[in-house]
Assembly symmetry: C2
Homo-oligomer: 406 residues x 2
């Protein structure tokens, strides 16, 4: 007997029939003698509709009222699933953030969880009742509903798994697990059986989009074993766990890419101490996250080109910030290119495998793909290339690292 | 300066544009130097949709989960109206039942208000903030959301008006006030300027459907001055108040009708003591409300026909109850007729005016309408007639009592 937290996303609870299917799945786990707590998202599309109404009403809206409105989606699904479970003879009860309570900080709209009072939930679980908990929501310091930001239901699920000391947290979604690459691009992409938290973090932030980054960080911190799996099949999914629990690692676990970046080059900046701070300080002050950075020193040694990437949605704002800082910086001109993609190879195994980077550069060179910027971490090598080459690059790398399914 | 509670129904907050119009109306009252608290319903149709989902999921549903689901409609509108008011520069804040808190009993699905803690609301009002309060909802004894039953937002509005000691409670709806008769039937129906609580109670329960009965009872108990008026025009509506405040009363204020009743006749019941109890006891035990009752003693004096009305939706159940009681009752047969309508003339003035009943019987006789059952109260005379004659009867009575607009 185990305590299992199951989280179902919006497509899994999109209508009455799908909620019934979720109830059947929960019952099966419960019938096997497990204690089960369920975390739900809103019906697919509902949160978007609610957020749209808020924006229509007030473009610059009070975040507390935004939270009041958008948190209703989960309130509907938890009530309906509790009813569906009761219909199947499973004792169930819905729980909203304020009823538990799950306390958050006061950052309405993207609040952080401060603590969960799991006392009552534990009592109910011990009596074999199934708590059906609204994801994405808690209650802020002033007794107002606070939401955790988009995708926050994953974070809710992991937080409850930690608070309840669950044996496992299942993230039931519309994909079968984490793949070695985006299956829409790479026909031979394989579902991974296991992946480390660190790799998953890179996969998530690199556009694999199966788990919210914050939820993975939290799972890593509290050592919550995660499973990402499909709500619509019985196949096991991908387990996300501590590195020590994975006996043998491939050098590379997967290939990820993101189109969310844009490249900026500041040409002929005077090459003197403090110039990086003069450039990146104002960008940081404007809350613009700079990702990859490369600095090319010019032949004469007196000036340099600074190239870096920013989120594509922040490009216009970044260019404005740099223009405003022109006096302090002294540069010739600024070039920018939103038509770029960042492709990454990810694997904790690369720490102990030599030649991983070389394989990447060779594979891309063979396809005639020009690398614009390179950045590396302990478990990841990323390159920036022209967006047109995205699919070609991802497929070439997938093959080069021997990831293709046989 | 006054403290005014304004309640807006579902059609008044049916979409973003209408909520903006409501915000303008609230702002106007607020700009005039009044303190304003607003009570809202859900967008028109939303509560029905939510209730439909609940019934689809579980025909015999747990009322606590029903309440969790259906209470979300008001949560959306209060958040949106608070935003709309803020956009207009009016400080506003949404309030849910549990945040106030408004405590109810444990009768989920049709809970009764036990008390309202108005401390914080009063503080906010004193600072000129506009509380935007979710109608129809409170929090039950176990910390669960409890709803007040359909139309409960009217009751919420009156309860808050009483708790806040408001100078007036405006019920803003899609009609212009209370009319002397249903304007869809009587072209010459007039809007009443004033009406007593007692008359309004009869009008509401007789099918005038502008105010929930419970809200009128509560307004009468706490002497809350009500105004029923249109959300879509600036014309004054109908004031509902204590009889003492209305200087002069007409004999009859209005004509109401309801198609919600069905007639039952138990033929040739033995006419002996205790027979009424043997008939109506089991009906009461089955929670079937018997309304009009008439007993005709047969010529031989040994048996009687008992005729009465029950809610049309309970007719089949009532007939079953009577059949089950056949042994104790001993009757020949039971006849029933759902094709009946109850038409009533209402007016506190009939206490001091003679001949009111006679005017009614004469007017109906002149149109050849047969009266099947008569019942009277201090301020009302009701007759049961064949449903086909509904419009004819209502128009004839409207004219007979001189209610037609000139």
């Amino acid at each position: 007997m185990a305590l299992i937290v199951q989280k179902y996303g919006g497509t899994s609870v999109a209508d009455i029939d799908r909620i019934r299917i979720v109830a059947e799945r929960v019952k099966k786990t419960w019938d096997d003698g497990n204690q089960v707590a369920v975390i739900l998202s809103a019906m697919a599309g509902v949160t978007d509709q609610l957020a749209k109404w808020v924006r229509e009403m007030a473009p610059l809206h009070d975040a507390r009222e935004y939270d009041t409105v958008v948190s209703t989606g989960e309130q509907v699904t938890v009530g309906l699933l509790a009813l569906a479970l009761q219909q199947l003879g499973v004792p169930a009860r819905s729980w909203l953030g304020w009823q538990i309570p799950l306390h958050t900080d006061g950052t309405h709209g993207s609040a952080r969880i401060e603590d969960i009072d799991a006392t009552e939930l534990k009592k109910r679980l011990a009596k074999n009742e199934v708590p059906v908990i609204a994801g994405f929501q808690g209650v802020g310091p002033m007794g107002r509903i606070a939401t955790l930001g988009r995708g926050g239901s994953d974070t809710s699920a992991v937080a409850f798994a930690a608070a309840l000391e669950a044996d496992r947290c299942d993230i039931c979604t519309d994909v079968e697990g984490v793949f070695t690459a985006d299956p829409r691009i790479v026909a031979g992409a394989r579902k991974l059986d296991k992946i480390t938290y660190e790799e998953m973090l890179e996969m998530a932030s690199q556009g694999a989009k199966v788990l919210q980054t914050r939820s993975v960080e939290m799972a890593m911190k509290y050592h919550v074993p995660l499973q990402v799996l499909s709500s619509f099949s019985d196949a096991p999914g991908t387990f996300v766990m501590d590195e020590e629990e994975i006996v043998e690692n491939e050098a590379v676990s997967g290939i990820a890419y993101t189109r969310d970046e844009a490249k900026v080059t500041v040409v002929n900046v005077a090459d003197k101490p403090g110039i990086a701070a003069a450039l990146f300080g104002p960008l940081a002050a404007a809350s613009i996250n700079v990702d990859m950075i490369v600095q090319n020193v010019a032949a004469d040694g007196t000036s340099t080109d600074m190239t870096f990437t920013v989120p594509r949605s922040d490009l216009a704002r970044a260019l404005q910030v740099i223009e405003d800082a022109a006096d302090a910086l002294s540069y010739d001109r600024v070039e920018s290119d939103p038509q770029v993609v960042k492709v990454s190879v990810i694997g904790v195994g690369m720490r102990s495998h030599a030649g991983v980077a070389n394989t990447m550069f060779t594979a891309l060179a063979e396809k005639g793909i020009n690398i614009q910027v390179i950045s590396t971490s302990e478990i990841k090598i990323s390159v920036l290339i022209a967006e047109d080459y995205t699919e070609l690059a991802v497929r070439a790398l997938h093959t080069a690292y021997g990831l293709d399914a046989e």
